[in-house]
């Protein structure tokens, strides 16, 4: 457990160092995802995919992801400082969220279906 957590933190730390050191406008943890993905690929290649998928890092990751909801509550409670901003822009916010959500669902599913149909039909569903 501790080793898994250490690897997750080390990837985040390396990500922060790369992002800030190179002046990249990308959150450090996102670079951390790419680094951990590379580590897992190397582990899977050397010790077999099963060891990368169920090892200590995977166990720690599963534990954190199972409680993902909890970790954005402190940030979300910060909304208590933004009442006025939300109230003043209520209509624009609701319209942007609803219309964008519906359109993004339609556009994404349409592109996925369209490109799937262009491919050779080796695993088409009935």
């Amino acid at each position: 457990m501790l080793f898994g957590l250490f690897i997750l933190l080390a990837c985040q730390l390396a990500g922060e160092i790369i992002a800030r050191g190179m002046g990249l406008p990308i959150p450090g943890p996102v670079i951390g995802i790419v680094l951990l993905l590379a580590l897992l690929a190397i582990q899977g290649w050397r010790q077999g995919a099963a060891s990368a998928e169920t090892g200590p890092v995977a166990k720690s990751a599963d534990g954190l992801l199972a409680n993902l909801g909890l970790v954005f509550i402190p940030a979300g409670v910060g909304i208590s400082q933004n009442y006025q901003l939300v109230f003043d822009n209520g209509l624009a916010l609701v319209a942007a969220l609803v219309v964008s959500t519906v359109l993004t669902l339609i556009v994404t599913v349409a592109v996925f279906r369209f490109v799937s149909r262009l491919l050779p039909a080796k695993e088409t569903q009935p």
Binding site: P27, P29, V30, L70, P74, V77, N89, L97, T108
Partner: protein
């Protein structure tokens, strides 16, 4: 005339212990309520917890800064929890290989579309710049979204709430919308749900169909990466 109860409150209100316990306890209770509702997307444990904690802070006259001094221990876990997304991504690698082209195409169009459609509508309706920038990562899982908002000059707290609202909206809309469009391809439906409404959409997709759920989780992780790379390119000049 010192009041021992008041002294105790002054002590507890300033210590991390009270706010950590309140946050975790409320979240556990909210999860129980969500389970009792059959995990209906509207009964979102994160939303319930935020509302309850905000009410408690209001009623006790506690400032957000005092609360955050305690809750920052939970907030800190956002980073490693975001890195942890690499694990489900690694587990999906066969799926990515099998459906590489549709996945890449819908990601390349869906990720910028989610950002540009929301900000475009907000700008047309005259929203303040802080609102527009907070909307940019609204389709992305909260850990990454809060980081992106900070990078491009949006308000992270507002982004956290907009992310949750988008998740709930997508989870409620996706099934009736896809049925109305007569789309039966559960890989495509799931991918759209995860790209549009991240973890909350993914949870919903798993309830409908396991293939849809797997593709939704994959879309959530990929859209987090894609948006983190694209958002500063498209909106970076604002900050």
């Amino acid at each position: 005339m010192t009041n021992p109860n008041f002294d105790l409150w002054v002590y507890l209100a300033a210590s991390p212990l009270l706010w950590l316990t309140l946050t975790i306890g409320t979240f556990l209770a909210a999860q129980w309520v969500a389970k009792r509702s059959g995990y209906h997307p509207v009964v979102n444990p994160v939303l319930i917890t935020i509302v309850v904690v905000v009410l408690v802070l209001r009623l006790t006259g506690t400032t957000y800064d005092t609360y955050f001094d305690g809750a920052q221990f939970i907030h800190f876990i956002l980073g490693p929890a975001t890195v942890a997304l690499a694990v489900p991504l690694y587990r999906s690698r066969q799926l990515v290989k099998a459906k590489a082209l549709p996945i890449l195409a819908s990601l390349a169009i869906g990720a910028p579309f989610a950002m540009l459609s929301a900000t475009g509508i907000a700008i047309l309706l005259g929203a303040a710049p802080a609102i527009v920038l907070a909307l940019v990562p609204k389709s992305v899982t909260a850990g990454i979204a809060v980081g992106i908002a900070g990078q491009i000059g949006g308000e992270p707290a507002l982004t956290a709430v907009l992310v949750i609202a988008t998740g709930i909206l997508g989870a409620v809309i996706v099934t009736p919308l896809m049925n109305a469009l007569k789309i039966k391809d559960y890989a495509a439906r799931g991918f759209a749900a995860g790209l549009t409404s991240h973890g909350i959409g993914t949870a919903r997709a798993f309830q409908v169909n396991s293939v849809a759920g797997t593709f939704a989780g994959l879309a959530m992780a990929l859209n987090g990466l894609a948006t983190a790379f694209l958002a500063p390119l498209i909106f970076g000049f604002f900050s």
